[in-house]
């Protein structure tokens, strides 16, 4: 199979970046990593990239393929060039580039260390010196987060991090939930307090790209949601982010819609809100926000209230993601999007 692709190369000394075209012959079932290996072995020994396990376990080889982050070793190259496309391979985003496809991971590790990613059981081991007895279902709360391989795909895709580089981000927060949600952890509240501050839980913009791109199904955004719910459950509700979230719920429950003008006041408080009046006026004028009066109200309140009832009915286990997905799916009638037409068969 003939392959053509472009790789974003960068010179560590000058910092200059250029696209380099490679053409090579590969076996049909080759992955993008096989392709990079072959380029390095046969065409260009200077191409730099990380790799080790070649089976999606070690997390070394995340790259951006036409802007989407994926593990090179899990990406069949035939898919990339289907239909005569010329894919562009670039280093992952939101981390400084060292050389070619290699990025500096240290900023990501720093944030991971900041959440103190290790279990802190303070009580004594059980009397018989054996394992802590834990009902299996309770460990389900952190099962997905424990699958993280630190590949950085979520960090690469995170919109909030690109705007606010200090945001802890999906990787560190998923790791944080791994411990907050562990039934053996005994420092839950202090952890949540730390995570609720600036650049923490509430800085996530809920774009869900981390969930979408995670190669291991960790679903970092879900972990962030669980952290938020748990922070509420232990009474950490005074942070702006928490107040913002709380008002979303209140607003939806009472009028079925989000009332933006009130949202600002409820989140920022009266004093700060006053300073935002010029901005608000501009928004009203441009039609970007509805006027505060008359109250913005949905014609039908029932669906919003029903949704809230379902979620609330799941209790804490729901908030921890143990039952949420399944129950909600059971309770909601899904409207399926029409299936996309199958792509035309390609000759590879």
């Amino acid at each position: 199979m003939q392959i053509r692709l472009q790789v974003e190369r960068s010179d560590p000394a000058s910092g200059e970046t250029r696209l380099q075209l490679y053409e090579l012959e590969l076996r049909r079932e080759a992955t993008l990593l096989d392709c990079l290996e072959q380029i390095k072995d046969e065409l260009d020994g200077t191409l730099a990239f990380r790799r080790s396990c070649r089976e999606g376990i070690c997390g070394s080889c995340a790259v951006r393929i036409d802007g989407r982050t994926a593990l090179a070793c899990r990406t069949p190259v035939a898919e990339l060039v289907a239909g005569g496309r010329l894919p562009t391979i670039a280093p992952i985003g939101n981390l400084p580039v060292v050389r070619d496809l290699v990025v500096e991971m240290e900023p990501m590790w720093q944030k991971m260390r900041a959440v103190e990613p290790f279990l802190r059981p303070t009580s004594e081991p059980s009397g018989d010196g054996r394992e802590t007895v834990v009902p299996p279902a309770r460990l389900e709360a952190v099962r997905k987060e424990a699958l993280c391989i630190n590949c950085g795909a979520c960090v690469s895709e995170c919109d909030a991090m690109s705007v606010s580089p200090e945001f802890l981000g999906p990787h560190a927060l998923a790791k944080a939930w791994r411990f907050v949600g562990d039934p053996r952890e005994e420092e839950t509240r202090p952890r949540l307090k730390g995570l609720s501050g600036e650049h923490g839980i509430w800085e996530c913009t809920r774009c869900y790209l981390c969930n979408e791109r995670c190669p291991k199904g960790v679903d970092p955004r879900d972990a962030i949601a669980k952290l938020g719910a748990e922070a509420f459950a232990v009474g950490l509700v005074r942070d702006r982010g928490a107040r913002h979230a709380k008002w979303f719920v209140t607003s939806a429950r009472t009028t079925g819609w989000l009332r933006e003008s009130e949202l600002v006041v409820k989140t920022l408080g009266i004093a700060v809100s006053v300073t935002k009046i010029p901005l608000a006026l501009r928004l009203f004028r441009r039609g970007k926000a509805p006027l505060p009066l008359p109250r913005h109200k949905a014609s039908e309140l029932q669906p919003a209230r029903e949704l809230r009832r379902i979620v609330a009915g799941q209790d804490r286990r729901g908030a921890q993601g143990i039952v949420q997905g399944e129950r909600v799916l059971e309770s909601i009638e899904l409207v399926r999007a029409p299936e996309r037409p199958a792509p035309e068969a390609e000759d590879f």
């Binding site: 200077t46 070690c58 070394s60 050389r99 290699v102 081991p125 010196g129 299996p136 460990l139 391989i149």
Partner: protein, 575 residues
């Protein structure tokens, strides 16, 4: 080239470091060793060519063995008896007994550190049955046990603030009057040779699977520590014993879980027959790994394969079972072989999986050089003897990683003064690197590596035989000759993996020579070393002993040492 030499030699004076204990390799064994050395009061750091959580320990799936007795009566004695038998009586029984006795407490500690092991209905650690074990003994975390342990080790490392020289490629032990004085490493991220001094060094670099073309091992498993020890004059033990896994996916070599056969998958030859009925009429596809691998290899050798592969058929599982229980396997086949196992059988063949042999150590990881230690797959205690039982290797990383860490800390703390490395140590390493980088013409590593991998399969694979092994030694001589002119195309300093991959190839070539030499001298069939043509039987009279290979004066010296037997006299190994 002047500027290059200048940068390497003069630019980096400020990064010299010294520690009490330096651990090379940051997989489960290395990290466990570092944690223990730290807890024993030593100043410890790790050196790893990968970020710790990228280590190959993370690929271990099935589980970790300890006689907890949570799923049926069990005892360390029973665990030991199973391990002795599994080793085809080549394991040292004192080491095995100690290992089995200490394993349970280590499991409880891992649990307390946060390891997310699966639970039984009562909330205790669940244990599953594994090959060669008389009772369910394997503690597990779904099919990602190695991953879970690797994370826990790293978490405990962070909890202690232990420093890791990340993406430092260690390639030479520095020897002096006081034994080992430290290591030389190439700093991948910045470029340049770093000299790291230590009062004690622990090798924990893992296995050597990449010596073979078809291997379940990661690209990083290139025998680094074994070759470094060899070049430092240390003996390597039982190198002829390599475990082959019967179901590795062609062409990638990735492991297809044993559960596929456990759940009733068929192995077919080119005429669609379930050939295992000739090799294990009772157990069929469920026979032990070595038996199935040998059956497959016989089919391949006798021309009943499909282009060198056998076919693993799961079509009769049906859609529901496939999607529910073997989603991962189907995904693997789709991604890496382009085949949907619902529609077609998948091509598999035996692939190199685990190296039982390694750097000869005692139960404290100690080698012949008083301050050099080894633990994990790089070492040979000998726990696995001629054949490893599934689930024992992860446990080995923990038990013997811990013991090596403790012993190395005590060794280092017993020495007065700081660790030091003379300036000549680094300049010697720099000369080697500069010479490699300055070469403008030569052969790229690829062809040498490919020939090494393919020929090792052909001549030192599942079956061995005098003539083939002799041919392989000649071929290796030729490859080593060609390696003298290996060409590193990348002349840069920052992230020059072209350089480190060339150095890795040098490790692999050295190790391959030792493996085949030891295999040639072992004139019997035992465990993973199978010589059906010339020596089909086990020979306890002459070969109930460990092989030891060492370099001395540019010559391979092969000797033997006795097996330690405590309670279990050798008997025929049958299941």
């Amino acid at each position: 080239m002047g500027s290059l030499r200048g940068a390497i030699v003069y630019g980096l004076e400020d990064v010299e470091s010294s520690h009490d204990v330096l651990v090379i390799g940051a997989g489960c064994a290395g990290m466990r060793a570092a944690i223990e050395a730290y807890d024993a009061g030593a100043d410890v750091a790790l050196v790893s060519k990968l970020h710790p959580t990228r280590s190959h320990s993370g690929a271990a799936r099935g589980g970790i063995n300890a006689a907890l007795g949570n799923a049926g009566a069990d005892s360390p004695e029973q665990h030991a008896a199973d391990t002795v038998k599994g080793s085809d009586y080549l394991g040292d029984q004192d080491a095995i007994e100690l290992f089995c006795a200490e394993a349970p407490a280590d499991i409880y500690q891992l649990e307390r550190w946060g390891a997310l092991f699966d639970r039984d209905a009562e909330g205790r650690l669940a244990q599953r049955a594994f090959g060669g074990a008389g009772t369910p003994r394997t503690v597990h975390a779904a099919d990602v046990t190695g991953h879970v342990l690797l994370q826990v080790m790293y978490e405990q490392l962070l909890a202690r603030g232990i420093y890791v020289y990340e993406e430092y490629f260690a390639w030479r032990l520095v020897l002096g009057d006081e034994g080992c004085e430290g290591v030389l490493a190439w700093d991948l991220a910045r470029g340049g040779v770093r000299a790291l001094a230590a009062k004690a060094v622990i090798l924990a670099t893992g296995g050597s699977g990449r010596v073979y073309h078809g291997s379940t091992n990661a690209h990083a498993c290139t025998a680094d520590g074994m070759a470094m020890a060899l070049r430092a004059g240390l003996p390597l033990e039982d190198l002829e014993f390599v475990q082959f896994h019967p179901t590795t996916l062609f062409p990638s070599g990735l492991l297809v879980t044993e559960a596929v056969r456990g759940e009733g998958g068929y192995l077919l030859n080119s005429s669609g027959a379930r050939f295992m009925r000739h090799y294990a009429p009772e157990a069929m596809e469920l026979a032990s790994r070595d038996v199935v691998s040998r059956g497959e290899q016989t089919e391949i050798d006798e021309g009943r394969s499909v282009e060198g592969s056998l076919l693993l058929d799961m079509r009769h599982f049906g859609r529901e079972k496939m999607l529910e229980r073997f989603h991962g396997t189907r995904d693997l086949a789709l991604t890496y072989a382009g085949i949907d196992p619902l529609e077609r059988p998948i091509p598999v063949r035996p692939g190199a999986h685990y190296h039982m042999g390694g750097v000869a150590t005692n139960v404290d990881g100690r080698t012949e050089i008083a301050n050099v230690f080894a633990a994990g797959e790089v070492a040979c205690v000998s726990l696995h003897g001629a054949n490893r039982l599934g689930g024992n290797s992860l446990m080995e990383t923990i038990v013997f990683g811990r013991r090596a860490g403790r012993a190395a800390a005590e060794e280092a703390l017993g020495k007065s003064g700081g660790a030091e490395l003379g300036p000549s140590a680094r300049s010697g390493g720099e000369r080697e690197i500069v010479k490699l980088l300055e070469r403008r013409e030569g052969e790229r590593p690829r062809s040498i590596r490919d020939e090494l991998g393919a020929s090792m399969h052909e001549n030192f694979g599942v079956f061995r035989e005098e003539g083939k092994m002799r041919r392989q030694l000649e071929l290796l001589e030729d490859l080593r000759e060609r390696y003298q002119q290996v060409l590193v195309e990348d002349k840069g300093e920052v992230w020059n993996s072209d350089l480190t991959q060339a150095l890795e190839l040098g490790f692999q070539l050295d190790l391959a020579v030792c493996m085949v030499s030891a295999g040639l001298e072992r004139r019997e069939s035992r465990g993973a070393h199978s010589r059906p043509e010339d020596y089909p039987e086990r020979d306890d009279q002459n070969f109930l002993k460990h092989s030891l290979v060492r370099w001395s004066n540019d010559w391979l010296d092969l000797s033997w040492k006795p097996v330690t037997i405590t309670r279990w006299q050798p008997r025929r190994r049958a299941y």
